[in-house]
Point group: C2
Chain length 110, copies 2
């Protein structure tokens, strides 16, 4: 029953969905996105006041959201303005819609 770690290839949809989901998989990052959505953009400085974590930790979470493509940082010195990445956000929205519309409600055995 030995199975290789074989670099499994997933569909782009699966890859991308899981990448987004992973980025959304931490309450601090959801809080950041929520905060961003309530501002018409915001600065990381604000986040440090709002979220009781070290600045470096928040910066790290911002980086992950950036890497996942969910936010972008525009330099607007002396601050960096973080915004939702509209296009990718909409993409994520569609991907999750697709995921949840694989309607499971017709499953009979449960």
């Amino acid at each position: 029953m030995t199975k290789n770690t074989a670099n499994i290839i997933y569909s782009d949809v699966t890859e991308q969905t899981s990448r987004f989901a992973k980025a959304l998989g931490h309450p601090v990052r959801l809080a950041i996105l929520k905060y961003l959505s309530n501002q018409s953009c915001c600065f990381t400085g604000d986040l440090v006041d709002v979220i009781p974590l070290a600045q470096s930790t928040i910066s790290q979470h911002l980086k992950e959201l950036k890497n996942a493509g969910l936010i972008v940082g525009e330099i607007e010195l002396p601050k960096i303005k973080y915004c939702i990445h509209q296009e990718n956000w909409n993409r994520a929205k569609r991907l999750f819609e697709t995921l949840f519309n694989e309607d499971f409600s017709n499953i009979s055995c449960c």
Copy 2:
């Protein structure tokens, strides 16, 4: 600028959304859910044939999906039948709808 690790309290919605997102944040788990959705329920045995990972690894992923509440395992000896947890799946669906309907498209600065 010292911040405590202070056990931050998040809203139930944030907690629950991040928990679901985390569970969805791995391609294998998405593949499992997809496979489950295409059967009218399935057995872990099938999954081992379909996904090139060790049985123990798949079992571990099933456990995480179970812990997140996204699937349930019904004993139907000699196998265990895994199914989507309808109620929680719908809950997840609603939570992600809520998340993505915090409409960010009115943000002007990006």
